[in-house]
């Protein structure tokens, strides 16, 4: 069964319709790249998928949960769905280790020793073992973002969402974050990522979806989509990316 099903989703902010009937499915282990111009609705779609934005109509299922407005049901969903944001959003008053252990301890009631073991394991995965006791403001942007990824992973999600996670980083730091994500993809994590990193989408994403004015304009296997765009909009978009 599909890990993510989005069916005819509409979403408006006031009178502006930002999602105009989006449908897509994601199979377990797939990596989906959502690309498109700013304002095309890709970030909104991602936020709808874990219930941070409410949809006006349509249906979203993810990791066996249906997105609804019920806070209890949303919490159950979010135990299985991790999200990483552009601005990292680490908790500044907690150390790296505490950032990672907090949710497992209080949400999943994991014993402290076990939470610590998990935290050490995910920190190692993102290459920051030595930063366990550091505070977020002592880390670079790239390191903070890797901690944010580790924090999500510590909840052992079935699906990971990434919302322009490298947009605030310079190229070098972008690279270290993308490497972590690529490793995650290789390990079989189901991922949906909103990204401006075309090369990364092409290399890592099994499927790329091009959004334009709130609709899916074009979609397909990444390599094929980038090599041979069918619509003038995507051709233009891909061309403008090669600077």
């Amino acid at each position: 069964m599909s890990e993510v099903i989005v069916k005819n989703v509409h979403k408006s902010f006031g009178t502006v319709e930002v999602l105009k009937g989006i449908s897509l499915t994601v199979e377990p282990g797939e990596v989906i790249a959502l690309i498109g111009r700013s304002g095309s609705g890709k970030s909104t779609l991602l936020r709808c998928i874990n219930g941070l934005e409410t949809i006006n109509s349509g249906r979203i299922e993810i990791a066996g949960h249906t997105v609804s407005r019920d806070p209890q049901k949303l919490r159950e969903l979010r135990r299985d769905v991790g999200i990483v944001f552009q601005s990292y959003n680490l908790f500044p008053h907690l150390s790296v280790g505490e950032n990672i252990m907090l949710a497992p301890k209080i949400v999943k009631n994991v014993a402290k020793a076990d939470a610590r073991k998990t935290a050490e394991a995910v920190l190692k995965m993102v290459g920051l073992s030595e930063k366990f006791d550091a505070y977020p403001d002592e880390l670079s942007g790239g390191q903070q973002q890797r901690v944010a990824i580790a924090r999500s992973l510590a909840m052992q999600p079935k699906v990971m969402l990434f919302d322009e996670v490298t947009s605030a980083l310079d190229p070098e730091l972008t690279e270290e974050v993308l490497n972590v994500m690529e490793q995650l993809a290789r390990d079989g994590m189901t991922m949906i990522l909103v990204t401006h990193e075309m090369a990364f989408a092409r290399r890592v994403a099994t499927k790329t979806i091009f959004m334009h004015h709130g609709k899916i304009r074009e979609e397909g296997p990444s390599k094929q989509l980038f090599a041979d765009p069918q619509t003038p909009e995507l051709r233009q978009f891909v061309k403008s990316d090669v600077k």
């Binding site: 919490r75 979010r78 944001f85 959003n89 680490l90 908790f91 500044p92 907090l102 949400v107 924090r151």
Partner: protein, 219 residues
């Protein structure tokens, strides 16, 4: 008539009255802090009616002089048959006054925690109570320290208003001694100095906390 002069025993009387000023301040900040905390929570609640009720409370308290609250609780209630001792009337009035201001100060602090902190903690499946307890309030607390301590200075000075209903705190003690000595300069300079001795360190603490906050240290 034999006038007393302002000597050690008079100064001792001022000191004992200063203790009452401090007790009243502690009552106001303690009681006002507890009520103000819940007012701030209600102000930032997701329930519209809680927000409206708390907002109205703050507006009313801030919109009337403490003196009126004091008169209402002392004279008003006594007319209604409820004769409050001055300490209780004074403590209750100052508590209500402090709760209105602390509620508003802390609302601002809670709301100045970035929205993304709510989203990040929500996305980690925390309940709203857990978000407050582990993510939002610890950050808001740090932000609130300078302004809270700054407000405490106001409370220390404003307790002098309770002298009007006969509560013998520092200002009232000064009046009593002046009536007996007719040495207003000595007496009230001593009174002013005592207020200063309490308030100045608090002001400095507030400034120091503010500087520390601006440096952006995390602890």
């Amino acid at each position: 008539m034999i006038l007393r002069t302002f000597g050690f025993s008079e100064f001792g009387f001022l000191l004992s009255a200063l203790v009452w000023t401090i007790i009243l301040t502690v009552i106001a900040l303690g009681g006002g802090g507890i009520i103000g905390f819940f007012v701030a929570l209600a102000r930032t609640s997701t329930h519209k009616w809680l927000r409206i009720i708390a907002g109205t409370y703050i507006q009313v308290i801030q919109g009337i002089p403490v003196l009126m609250i004091l008169f209402l609780s002392y004279y008003g209630l006594s007319l209604a048959g409820l004769q409050l001792p001055p300490l209780v009337a004074a403590g209750a009035s100052m508590t209500i006054y402090a709760s209105g201001y602390l509620g508003e100060i802390w609302r601002g602090c809670i709301q100045s925690v970035p929205k993304q902190q709510w989203e990040a903690s929500e996305s980690l499946a925390m309940t709203r109570a857990q978000q407050y307890r582990y993510v939002i309030l610890p950050q808001a607390l740090r932000i609130s320290l300078p302004s809270t301590v700054g407000f405490a200075v106001q409370v220390v000075k404003n307790t002098s208003i309770t002298s009007i209903i006969g509560f013998v705190e520092l200002a009232r003690a000064g009046q009593l001694i002046n009536n007996a000595t007719f040495q207003p300069f000595r007496v009230f300079l001593a009174v002013a100095a005592l207020y200063f001795v309490v308030c100045y360190p608090l002001s400095q603490l507030s400034r120091w906390l503010e500087r520390r906050l601006h440096v952006g240290s995390h602890r």
